[in-house]
Symmetry: D2
Subunit: 337 residues, 4 copies
Amino acid sequence: MMILMRDGATETEVEGVIVKLHEVGAEAHLSRGEFKTIIGAIGDRDRISQIPFEALPGVETVIPIMKPYKLVSREFHPEGTVVKVGGAELGGETFVVIAGPCAVEGEEQMISSAKAAKAAGATIVRGGAYKPRTSPYSFQGMGEDGLKLLALARQETGLPVVTEVVDVRDLELVCEYADMVQVGARNMQNFLLLREVGLQEKPVMLKRGLSNTVEELLMAAEYVVRGGNAQVVLCERGIRTFETATRNTLDLSVVPLVKNVSHLPIIVDPSHATGKHELIAPLSKGAMAVGADGVMVEMHPDPKTALCDGPQSLAFGEFDSLMRELKALAPALGRKI
Amino acid sequence: MMILMRDGATETEVEGVIVKLHEVGAEAHLSRGEFKTIIGAIGDRDRISQIPFEALPGVETVIPIMKPYKLVSREFHPEGTVVKVGGAELGGETFVVIAGPCAVEGEEQMISSAKAAKAAGATIVRGGAYKPRTSPYSFQGMGEDGLKLLALARQETGLPVVTEVVDVRDLELVCEYADMVQVGARNMQNFLLLREVGLQEKPVMLKRGLSNTVEELLMAAEYVVRGGNAQVVLCERGIRTFETATRNTLDLSVVPLVKNVSHLPIIVDPSHATGKHELIAPLSKGAMAVGADGVMVEMHPDPKTALCDGPQSLAFGEFDSLMRELKALAPALGRKI
Amino acid sequence: MMILMRDGATETEVEGVIVKLHEVGAEAHLSRGEFKTIIGAIGDRDRISQIPFEALPGVETVIPIMKPYKLVSREFHPEGTVVKVGGAELGGETFVVIAGPCAVEGEEQMISSAKAAKAAGATIVRGGAYKPRTSPYSFQGMGEDGLKLLALARQETGLPVVTEVVDVRDLELVCEYADMVQVGARNMQNFLLLREVGLQEKPVMLKRGLSNTVEELLMAAEYVVRGGNAQVVLCERGIRTFETATRNTLDLSVVPLVKNVSHLPIIVDPSHATGKHELIAPLSKGAMAVGADGVMVEMHPDPKTALCDGPQSLAFGEFDSLMRELKALAPALGRKI
Amino acid sequence: MMILMRDGATETEVEGVIVKLHEVGAEAHLSRGEFKTIIGAIGDRDRISQIPFEALPGVETVIPIMKPYKLVSREFHPEGTVVKVGGAELGGETFVVIAGPCAVEGEEQMISSAKAAKAAGATIVRGGAYKPRTSPYSFQGMGEDGLKLLALARQETGLPVVTEVVDVRDLELVCEYADMVQVGARNMQNFLLLREVGLQEKPVMLKRGLSNTVEELLMAAEYVVRGGNAQVVLCERGIRTFETATRNTLDLSVVPLVKNVSHLPIIVDPSHATGKHELIAPLSKGAMAVGADGVMVEMHPDPKTALCDGPQSLAFGEFDSLMRELKALAPALGRKI
């Protein structure tokens, strides 16, 4: 932590900062320039970060030097983490494809999707039982009945399933049925939910919030890991910008960025990011090329009747083509699929 | 709802859309141009909005015509709603000032703040007992002990109190102590929490999410009102933009905008929006000038020791000055204070 | 400038930075922590800022400490600058209202607007002769004929006129006719145009770019002032965000922010910011309340036939009402009008 | 164009819109719903788009139906355009790599860069002679001397060169030396510059503005093509968002999006988008995977001494590695390099 004093800060003001640092057992290193005095704070990061420096007299600004997360950083854990979900491994050599409908709508829709996903080569099945929707008048998901259909899909295909939890009171129930628990973009900073998923044992997929920075995403993951659950997979799904041609703006730069600073796997969801099925294939290939550990793609037996996100869902045939393109690309990028 | 067909859409494709509309009892009005065919959908809005038009063959785009909210719209309820919180009224002639510390930190801090708020002329007291924090290493609030101190503050001053609920499991407890329940910016689209606060009777303050549009804010309010609780006050608290000179970008345009389309009161929180105590006074006056029903301002007996948001908190003397400025301004804007 | 070295940076790497500093005659102040070494650079700001520190081995990041602008800063010139445009003064006690049509369309339109502006109490007249338009198929302005009509408007009303220059080759011509030269939002970082308006003597109105930070706005003003022309008025006109309910998001926080760090006057353009005539009045009052030195408002004898920006233009009667509201408000804010 | 009337718009108001349409020779198609009347405008797009519908009484909103650009649309020109720059072709089977320093700094720097670029397999050389810089105190480029060094680089390597024009008065000079003229991000809506580059014959590279939508980018290209020059290559270089971990946010989705709606080639500039040299390789591969026609990459003989953008420049060895990775990837994506 560097504390930059205002032009003409008095000795008393400088002293005031030093006293605060000493109170938490930290040392102060002074650097005096012609106009500015800078105080470097050396000591226990957590204790130092509790000091409200910017409210102290004479302080102009505070410059954090250490990254605010620890457990998810690559310094803390230089080896990449591999997260196991049933037989699938995220974070290893294999590029994992998660596929399935946006929402579980019924047995035939769910089971046929899971089978088509498996047939084409997907290794994890997705499906939403609880749907957070902007409008109270939209379909809100099948709830536990949906969870049961996911379990049935696993039974029929042998593939593990991932589904979103939106209410902390449903967490236990969701964990009974799912192999991986998803925390959605709108809940990325629902800190109590993060804490609770950190206290249970199922692997967690944590989606980046629409307007959250990469650092905030890593801090959210820190909440989960700190609870004791290090099986976390991050997911980039587009951020909100001024551009309206796509639903959100997919930020593929975060993939190599996260790989540099964190040991957690990261996948990409091009379906929610773009909202357009014709963009799924090129952006899935883009995700693989920038180094993502997988993609999560929405598919549906009949996108035009989907209760949720039809325009961004692939028909089975389109999904099959996508998988063939990804398989053709993988070797050139040193990946298996 | 207008459905715009692609150039060269076939008769079969146009017919496909019409069939879907008839299935939900709606009528289709065709308008054929040289290049484009447009289908106007007339009928029950909720049923029509369930049709995934954009996934139908030949459809280029869908243009919503009706606003997606009803109960919170001014068409539905032309008179402005006045929300009563203890003796205070939000949405009437009076410009309401809500003041208090970001977080409840202890008895002396809370009670002295409440007394200073009252002495200066505030009519509602705020204080956070549960604090959603980006870092798991930051102070997370006093919990129920904080709620008890809020109740004590009310007893000592006679002013009603507002506090945030972050966990749906705490809602009943929060309602026992608080006169108004706050749903924070990060929970604006925590739809289950919205539903639950809509099922209880305490008035609700709903803060705009950092990256949510005005329309989404009104949809979130629709969740609450639809549950049965129409005592909702909206709160603009800044949105996330590229600008880093302020913590967020305060969007004062939404105040007259919301007044035009909704009957709900709306207040402004300049403390969280700017993160800078020196901007609170001018922006509070700006809020009054654009027609807000009040402001919510953070204050602290000693901002430089605050456990949360010190840099944006006013000292008691600064808060007193602010109140005097607002009182001087109010008559010129036809407001009481 | 603070140079933060990476964890484990070698002595050679630290030495490499110090050598670079010495090369430009600057001193290096070292601060060594447990993990991090920080080097404070003391010396001539301009020479130091030329060093590409971030490309030097071992450097993690560079933290600028001094503001990157000088001539426009309040430290450099503690008194507020007052810019004179004809008889009007921007930056003093008077709240200045600039009014007129978006584009000059013809003699009757321009002259009637100027007269209505004057009758209601405006003190500067605006009108665009060169219009930068997103579409090549939109009306692009009357050019020199428009400038002549502006000069005629000045002759008829005695009020000074302001108009935009978009092509550096037209600057001399524009200066012949106008009392103040406007650099529009899209040209805020057209550095050659900034340099040229800095070399002539007419006062300059510099509008903030749609996606430019306050710091970049001040840097753009630095270009002009550095050329020798210190008669610069800044103008906030809304920034581009994810919100689509208004054309842009008016950022009123920048007004007190700029007042703190710069001596230049700043006005607000609510017409371009919102794109909605019904929001002009509340936001003009908001602008006055946050401390702006004036507003620039679009008006038109018949907004529904305007060739440009009709929806955001006020009819004469509406403009007259606005002026009456502003006059009623001014005394409570210590302003004349 | 669809004109949506307000609830309860009168017959006279509806008639007013129809009269306006008839005035420009267009037809009006009425569609009356229970609450809303919608008027479809059929006729000459350019003439209809001049009508300020939103300012007409009773009009709620106007919905554009046709795309606002014509000449650059794929409907207008279904075949993809191939732009020839010397021996290089952009828009064909070959993935083109443009490489060179951010700024021309001197003969040795420029010539060695060009030779290294060629040796590694690049087919066009870049280098800035005129540099638009945020600060007036930063290096502004070598001007004509820089252009001469670019010409020398072409002579030495046989590769064509591209360089930016910032001042319309320099255009003729730039065209004398360069094989392709670049319009930079800050000038994307410098409409007069667009018009002028449209009137000359050298191919044009048009970079997307930091805060411009894809539609605005295509409208800017329309300005150039309408002038008579259809040899335009678009370039995605990152947009400004709230994320600060990268300089800008690279929006790779626009590549397949543009390919769908326009016939113009599009390339990607990962250097300016990210500002970080360690992200160039993964994002260049990502650009190829999403279907871009090439990349433009900054390189420098000694990035740590670069006068401009050192942190994002590749050293020669890094550039050589990048080329090898791209060559290995190309066949799997059906591209030559």
